[in-house]
Point group: C2
Chain length 501, copies 2
């Protein structure tokens, strides 16, 4: 894998300004020997092989960790953490390494990588309640395939499904395409087994749909990006796989038309809607030009995607047809297509799902994942595009419109500090001024951690820090991610009113 | 309100064996004066008026708190807690007082009651995402009525909806009838404002569907029964109200038939199912005899209830008809009725929802709320019935079959220790031996707190205690509820194998 020099430069620049004051041990040969023994030699130390683990999917982080450990049991994870905690060796838990905020890659060469990829066994599927129990390293798509045999499916769907792992999904509280239908992953996780920094195994496994016995400890591990513990097993609610799907795509000429088409889809399609997504014109352009995916309908400023999933083909199609009649009748959409077979449906989804892949081909991605009120969501895209004119190759947007979740990406052939300073902290400030979230579904990782005050109040952040200190007193778990212990490293949002709100 | 002497006796007996070693202040006239000033005189000190607040809905607890405070703002809640924390005055937060495990009533005469009933304002409804923001004291049914104007509804439905408050619902992570459709309340709460024991206001309010910025602190307040903080405001996802409902009720001759009818309902009715409930023969008998509700179909050992909610009447009815054809064809059900109008639907639901009301009329209720694997769920009812023969008036069962949640109630004209000892800890031991939960949706309150080890491991309970100590170092918030700080007060489950499992 070849890397642009600028990648290393970027990481080097940001790394040193971020590191907390906690001191970590310099990894010794003796440490490597002891840790290697625990995992019975399942380690990686070769520089070339390490590259994949040291580099994030968007190729923006490129640290130099010297050791990857691949335990195949919870007991081994426990032994590893127990040793590392005692020796103050920093540990970065890693799943499929498909994260987009640098949450799963090391920041320093003395951090070791704990890969969950060998913990990839399905434990069982309980059909009467639809509960899947598995190890954290199972790849999402493999779980979906496994469940298909029982007529069930996973309650989330992501572009990265072919390589992301369920443990990583849960650790980041991943969102994705089906959230609209099945709700947040947090609500679908019934049980978790996790290992604390000191090696204590916390068994909150359960395949019960309801359990109100005491505080729901497992919630602390969901979305905390491995900073409070390493998730090793999961029990997940797996809904019945809908028998029939329809995928449709439309052109919309204004953002207002798009919002109206969205609102009608929610009310008319009701219980059968499973995804409501959009991409804008420039996003379409990038997949056209860099992945050679052609737009199957006439070009327009916005493209709206609808997926329905139901148990009766005829009923679903009738509901969709009535919806089509209404949105065409009201001229909310100007052109559209309904996929007649699964390959056409996959093609349409490719236009939406392969956006990041296209962006990677442009060169450098400045990536933002925001929750914003629907009425002002696209205003930010327009403002950002204006600011980046002449500095960026593309300013694209797409996302989960049904959840009010915007993905705003700026692409350029290479990294420039000027472009970065043009976008940040502007995007975060604008989002905070509208009461939005600066990380809707990707998490904070390394990228966003310092901006936490843009979405959370001081008192809440203080509680987060206390939790981190309680769960990981030596700070060995995924240091400098999610919640920074050193308050002086955090950036404050400007006073409200800066962006005329 | 008149009370049986046995009630007081029972509370007195159990109270002293439970109290933790933390010392609380004896409430003085000066305290009452200061606290009264904070709430501008909105207090209750009259013995007769206090009775309603001191007594739980099932009339099993009857403490003698001398003061109820009714603040009308978060700031006043904050001032109250700040003072009580400083003075070590124990505070019991109370919503609609409809809890079934003694979580919302005081245990000692020096505890004061913090009623949220005056914080009952809807703040706003945001239609594009369907998010309701309100104060904690809003009555659930009032919120549902408010949302109806916008074509939305609350994502939970309980028998107590006419008096329970949303703050209490969230504090207990209430389940109810619609969980099957909309998922757990935990997944539907988008934002919370809560006041910590020391008066600190934690603002995790958000009307965003997605927000992954840092640890999800608000989860700690959901289901912790006011022991970690007092919830004052809530933002709740309010789904679009389904346009059409069908309610059907069937007789089943065996538990196996009931399970098969359930399984078919899940797969055939798919996305339109909103409730799958059951009651057994003896439960039907109790509502017949004590509420004069007659069974509209022929009697059988089990009665199965189905509710569908959808956007197209014709489609829903067709799905239901196909389902009926199948279950009758397979002889899984022997008789049944589909409600033709809303009053008939309400009558049918009354048979299921008014079970506790009927039980209260019998006299004393021994009440259990369990999650169990479906295949052994009814075995426990049969075992319990056998044990209680000659000692109890009725042993009834009903519950949320679709969620594998059993309500097992033993009724008698009065409390007897012998009957209690016959049921407890047997029911908890049996449940633990099958990997069930000893509290599915009602919470731990005062009743179940000591049985936490029957559903949770030592390490998890230890984390809960640390959280309690961190959030409420003086232990003033709802003492002796949910998680007992004094480990010696907790009962251990017997070794696995006691019940031949």
């Amino acid at each position: 894998m070849a890397f642009r020099g600028i990648t290393k430069l970027f990481v080097t620049q940001t790394r040193f300004s971020q590191l907390s004051t906690l001191s970590y041990k310099r990894l010794t040969d003796n440490d490597v020997e002891i840790l290697s023994k625990i995992v019975e030699g399942s380690i990686i130390t070769n520089t070339d092989d390490l590259e994949t683990y040291n580099t994030d999917w968007m190729r923006r982080c490129n640290a130099k960790s010297k050791l990857v450990l691949k335990p195949n049991s919870t007991q081994k994870v426990s032994q590893i953490l127990s040793y590392c905690n005692q020796e103050r060796i920093a540990v970065v838990p890693q799943g499929g390494n498909t994260g987009l905020v640098g949450g799963g890659v090391p920041m320093d060469s003395n951090e070791i990588i704990l890969s969950l990829s060998k913990m990839n066994k399905v434990i069982e599927f309980e059909p009467s309640l639809g509960v899947l129990t598995c190890e954290a390293g199972c790849v999402l798509e493999n779980l979906d395939r496994y469940l298909e045999k029982f007529g069930h499916c996973v309650p989330l769907d992501l572009g990265a499904k072919g390589s992301c792992q369920i443990g990583g999904n849960v650790s980041t509280n991943a969102g994705g395409l089906r959230l609209l239908r099945y709700g947040s992953l947090r609500g679908n996780v019934l049980g978790i087994e996790a290992v604390l920094a000191d090696g204590t195994i916390i068994d909150c496994m359960s395949s019960l749909r309801k359990d109100n016995t005491g505080y729901d400890i497992k919630q602390l591990f969901i979305g905390s990006e491995g900073t409070l513990g390493v998730i090793t097993k999961i029990a997940l609610l797996a809904p019945i796989k809908p028998a029939y799907k329809n995928v449709a795509m439309f052109s919309c000429h204004t953002y207002e038309d798009l919002l109206q088409a969205l609102s009608l889809a929610k009310s008319r399609l009701g219980e059968i809607v499973s995804a409501l997504e959009f991409i804008d014109y420039e996003a379409m352009l990038v997949v056209n030009q860099h992945l050679d995916l052609k737009c199957p309908i006439s070009l327009a400023p916005f493209f709206f995607f609808i997926e329905t999933s139901g148990s009766n083909q005829e009923h679903d199609r009738q509901k969709l047809d009535e919806y089509l009649e209404e949105v065409y009748g009201k001229a909310l959409v100007t052109d559209g297509t309904v996929a007649e077979d699964s390959s056409k449906a996959a093609y349409i989804w490719g236009l939406r799902e392969r956006q990041v892949e296209a962006g990677v081909r442009v060169g450098w991605i400045y990536k933002y994942d925001l929750s914003l009120p629907l009425n002002c969501l696209y205003e930010l895209v327009q403002e950002t595009r204006k600011r980046c004119k002449g500095l960026a190759s593309y300013t694209v947007s797409y996302g989960h419109l049904g959840d009010s979740n915007l993905h705003l990406n700026v692409y350029n052939t290479h990294y420039t500090q000027e472009l970065k300073d043009t976008i940040e902290p502007f995007v975060f400030e604008w989002t905070a001024s509208r009461g939005g979230s600066i990380s809707a579904e990707h998490g904070m990782g390394f990228d966003k951690a310092k901006y936490i005050y843009f979405s959370k109040q001081k008192e809440s952040v203080e509680i987060m820090r206390q939790l981190k200190r309680r769960f990981d007193p030596n700070g060995i778990l995924n240091p400098n991610k999610t919640v920074l212990l050193d308050d002086s490293k955090c950036i404050r949002p400007p006073p409200i009113g800066k962006y005329n709100h």
